[in-house]
Symmetry: none
Subunit: 121 residues, 2 copies
């Protein structure tokens, strides 16, 4: 857990708020930290909060989507929450719809989404 982005256990889930710009190296450490935290805690769900981020380029978008896919392979569902309007607009205009990634408006709704995913599976 050497990265600058904290990953907290909140109930049965992990919650992480990305509060710094994701450079290549930070993103890589972040991914590793998230996967190790899943392994260590056995968390059933993962909420990635990006409400602080004013810009998300396709590289970062891909890192976030990949992190969710990796978590899924390990058996943990994830939800991306708090994407700003201008970020959403930019990503869609660049043709990057982040297919297959679960989203919610904020952390609370993300946690609720994980709970409903758990019930329905």
């Amino acid at each position: 857990m050497g990265g600058p982005i904290p990953i907290l256990k909140v109930g049965p889930n992990l919650l992480t708020t990305i509060h710094v710009e994701l450079t290549d190296s930070i993103a890589e450490v972040f991914q590793q930290d998230v996967l190790r935290a899943i392994e260590r805690t056995g968390a059933g769900g993962l909420v990635i909060d990006i409400s602080v981020l004013e810009e998300v380029d396709t590289y970062v978008a891909r890192v976030l989507a990949d992190t969710g896919r990796m978590a899924a392979l390990m058996g943990t569902r994830s939800v991306l929450v708090g994407m700003r309007p201008e970020v959403a607009a930019t990503l869609v205009r660049m043709g990057y719809g982040m297919e297959g990634v679960e989203t919610a408006l904020d952390v609370d709704r993300g946690i609720a989404r994980l709970a409903s995913l758990k019930e329905n599976r």
Copy 2:
């Protein structure tokens, strides 16, 4: 049941832990063994535990996903459990997200998943 990978009946399900490297020939025998065990036992579910595997290349990933699809065609749901963080990271980076394959963190949760899948179908 001539393969080196044991397939156990645990309650209504089959449980198999892959504890050796899956070479081409072992993988082929494993697939056959699993499908025959499903036919013979009438198991409602299948849990494939890969927590021992430190490496999973795309060939093995495909064998595992295919085995799940074959079981599904026979009417048996399957769950892949225990994928390690570094294995998940490698597979996603290679563009291999194993779509359509159910996953869980460990054997216990895999069995719980099978139970919930049974209820919801």
